[in-house]
């Protein structure tokens, strides 16, 4: 069975984000970019499944400008066998990504798709779900545990939901999106980093996959959250009530 993992190149989680002066987006020039943490977890899970003998190959897919290849190389250095890069110069939103992934699924025919639950730059949390819908495959999102069953060709997924943990059984092929507690991604060791250099990364364009990218979302403005105001020391309970009523308008 082949596992396909989608990985996204995002601003590194630890970087202090700054909004561009023209408010069109976040500053990404000269800023460290890395693999989305949830995608790392997805890839780690795929590798573990492969190491337990239940999968034959792990393919890492990334979409975007040429620099995405760096992220794919990281995935290969962790242990993925092959990479696929769908080159597209502009921003790609979840629906477009889902359509492109669907097209790739028709080419690669994987038995399992693992994605991160969301990207830390847009926090959409939509791609996995949309993809499952387009493919009409079962989905187990926010996975905190995944157990594969070879004979039954099913995956048992523990999901982190508001009320606690929900356990689902999904018939393969299926889409799983990973949550934080699923696993701790491995470091890329030197032997694997060297091996990664010779692993294949195939390039596609959206035209190659017969997918038309429509800009269905337009970012109007990006602003910083309002700065926290300095606290005020009040002198009496009456003043507090007055402020709560008239300024904060919460009572």
């Amino acid at each position: 069975m082949k596992i396909m993992v989608a990985i996204k190149r995002v601003v590194d989680y630890a970087v202090k984000i700054r909004v561009k002066p023209d408010k069109s987006g976040v500053e990404t020039q000269n800023v460290k970019m890395s693999m989305n943490p949830f995608c790392e977890i997805a890839l780690e899970e795929a590798l573990r499944i492969k190491e337990s003998g239940l999968a034959s190959e792990v393919v890492a897919v990334s979409m975007g400008p040429p620099q995405c290849v760096d992220t794919i190389r990281t995935g290969l250095a962790m242990g993925a066998d092959r990479g696929i890069h769908v080159e597209y110069p502009d921003a790609l939103y979840p629906l477009s990504v889902a359509k492109l992934l669907k097209a790739l699924v028709e080419v690669e025919k994987p038995g399992l798709l693992i994605l991160g639950k969301q990207a830390i730059d847009d926090d959409c949390n939509q791609t996995g779900q949309m993809l499952a819908g387009l493919l009409r495959w079962p989905q187990g999102t926010f996975a905190s545990k995944v157990i594969m069953d070879k004979e039954k060709q099913a995956a048992t997924v523990d999901r982190e939901v508001d009320g606690g943990i929900e356990t689902l059984s999904l018939d393969l092929p299926a889409v799983i999106t990973t949550d934080l507690r699923l696993n701790q991604p491995r470091y890329a060791t030197l032997p694997n980093i060297m091996k990664a250099k010779s692993k294949v990364v195939k390039k596609y364009t959206p035209q190659d996959l017969n997918v038309e990218i429509k800009a269905d979302l337009e970012v109007v403005q990006v602003t910083e959250p309002p700065k926290r105001k300095v606290g005020v020391v009040l002198s009496s309970v009456d003043e507090l009530i007055d402020k709560l009523k008239n300024e904060a308008r919460v009572i």
């Binding site: 970087v15 693999m35 760096d70 990281t74 470091y187 890329a188 060791t189 030197l190 060297m194």
Partner: protein, 566 residues
């Protein structure tokens, strides 16, 4: 750019081992508090000892509160005598009788020039100002002053000099050799209130600021403007730039940006007699006369109080890579260092090493740390960091270097951090070692500069000497030839100490090393300077001290041996 936040160790949990002796609360006894102007450190004699729980503050080193009790009459301490901890034979310091004691006129004078709020006599505040960061030394000062301007510092010193009142300059109080706290009742002059940034030139990167600016705040200030401080150390959340400069702090970036002697362009200091020495130049090159600022950099506050600093800051570079490597033996580590300097060249920003014992310690005592190279422990680990301006170029360079190192048999395994989170986890292993040592029990800490080829020989000799008595743990800034030798034992024991000192100092001296690479001499090593400097040099230092501070009031009892000053 450094990943500061995520490399700091989390709060330490200290073992509290109460001794059976009910005098464990001796420190707070009324008798002690009234015994001014004595210093009150007791020397451990018997088996009774205890370690107080320490509520760890984030982002700092951790030290053992070592209260040793006389096994016998604990209160029979002669006032005016202080015993120092590390001497195998306790060296007693006597309070210099020519120093005056505070009186109410002094207090009124200070209140007049500083205002009531900045003259502190409150016991609780004094307690923390009197105690060093490692809780090894405690003075008994009765007065803490918080000047806000250079003029105020000048008035204070002028007055103290005329009255012959001893003073101790203090900043963040994070020093590790007892240099920032009073020994007896010296007046504490704490510059924390002088924390303004005076100017910053965005083109040249020259920062001018007051001595009380906390290093971390300066780092954030510069971060917003695309620059970084040329030094970085674990104590950055509390240490102040005046103190950093006065102690010539080293840290993790020395390999790349050099020492403060190179980065400090100018400073303003107040001499013992109150004279303000304005050497606050902002020029990169200025060969006019003797460069006096170098006297103040590293003299640990014994020649005057630094009040302003002008420092050259490097631009912040975006591409940082961290590799954690395993080596079979120390010889490979050395060769790796040479190769790294040659092949990584200008992008190399840190080269640290730790041995197997350090790794074992980190894994067992630090939270949230996992072995990057499972499943077994390797003999030596090396942490290499590169900082540059082009991510892909740096990556290529690093990987090419690592490949050739692997093919050459220098490294047996390794990882390259793929994002900032992984990089900081790896750094945490190295930076958390002081914390891990504290958790493991008693910790004898040595900071030595040695020729790189011989560095580890000392560690091996110490292991032979100590056999089963204690564990010898070694790590350090291999790139700078700086070894942090730590001996870890379940409890403090004079038998262990006897095996360590003076052997370590003599060994270092024989190999022309330094008995204090970056921590300084302070109080702890005030009588040890001759291990690393010739008598002629020390005599000249004493002359300079006498010239700049004839009454010897500024930070007395520290840095130079008492016998050579008087």
């Amino acid at each position: 750019m450094k990943m500061e936040k995520w490399r700091w160790s989390s709060a330490a949990h200290r073992l509290l081992r109460l001794c059976s002796n009910p005098l464990s609360d001796l420190r707070c006894s009324p008798k002690l508090q009234n015994s001014t102007p004595s210093g009150v450190l007791y020397r451990h004699e018997g088996t009774c000892e205890w370690i107080r729980p320490f509520i760890g503050q984030q982002k700092q080193h951790f030290g053992q509160r070592s209260h040793h009790l006389w096994s016998g009459n604990c209160l029979g301490e002669t006032p005016g005598i202080q015993n120092r901890f590390f001497g195998a034979t306790a060296t007693k310091i006597e309070r210099n009788s020519k120093f005056a004691t505070l009186n109410s006129n002094d207090i009124s004078y200070f209140k007049e020039i500083l205002g009531e709020k900045n003259v502190i006599q409150d016991e609780d505040t004094l307690l923390s100002a009197n105690t060093d960061w490692m809780h090894k030394y405690r003075g008994s000062s009765k007065l803490l002053l918080l000047p806000r301007t250079t003029e105020e510092v000048s008035s204070i010193l002028k007055y103290c000099n005329s009255r012959c009142l001893a003073v101790v300059p203090q900043g963040g109080n994070t020093g590790l050799v007892g240099g920032s706290v009073p020994v007896f009742d010296e007046v504490i002059i704490n510059v924390s209130s002088m924390n303004n940034v005076i100017s910053f030139d965005k083109v040249s990167g020259i920062l001018v600021c007051e001595a009380g600016c906390i290093l971390e705040n300066l780092i954030s200030f510069l971060d917003n403007r695309g620059f970084i401080m040329p030094l970085d150390l674990g104590a950055k959340g509390s240490c102040q730039i005046g103190g950093n400069v006065s102690t010539n702090a080293g840290g993790l970036r020395l390999l790349r940006y050099g020492s403060l002697h190179g980065n400090v362009l100018g400073l303003e200091a107040v001499l013992a007699n109150g004279e303000v020495l304005d050497m606050l130049g902002t020029l990169r090159k200025d060969n006019t006369g003797y460069d006096l600022k170098h006297l103040f950099i590293g003299s640990e506050g014994s020649l005057g109080i630094v009040t302003k600093v002008s420092i050259l800051t490097p631009p912040k570079l975006s591409s940082v890579n961290v590799a954690f490597l395993a080596c079979k033996d120390y010889f490979s580590c050395q060769k790796l260092l040479l190769e790294a300097k040659r092949k990584l060249g200008e992008i190399l920003s840190a080269f640290e090493f730790l041995d197997e014992q350090s790794m074992a310690l980190a894994l067992s005592h630090l939270e949230g740390v996992r072995n990057p190279l499972p499943p077994s422990l390797h003999n030596f680990y090396v942490l290499i960091e590169t900082t540059g301006s082009n991510e892909s170029y740096d990556r290529e360079k690093l990987e090419a270097f690592l490949l050739s190192a692997m093919e050459g048999g220098l490294i047996s395994d390794g990882i390259v951090a793929q994002d900032i989170q992984q990089a900081s986890s790896v750094w945490h292993i190295r930076e958390g070692l002081p914390e891990a040592l504290i958790k493991a029990g008693a910790n004898y800490k040595y900071d030595l500069s040695l020729p790189v080829e011989k560095l580890y020989n000392l560690v091996e000799e110490m292991r032979t000497r100590l056999e089963n008595l204690a564990t010898v743990v070694a790590y350090g800034h291999l790139g700078d030839g700086n070894l942090h030798l730590n001996i870890s034992a379940p409890q403090y024991d004079d038998a262990i100490l006897a095996q360590i000192e003076p052997f370590v100092y003599e060994w270092t001296s024989k190999n022309r090393g330094s008995i204090s690479a970056e921590h300084g001499l302070g109080l702890m090593k005030a009588n040890k300077i001759l291990y690393s400097k010739s008598p002629a040099a020390v005599n000249l230092m004493a002359s300079i001290k006498k010239l700049l501070d004839p009454n010897g009031i500024v930070n007395p009892y520290k840095v130079l041996p008492q016998s050579m000053i008087h």
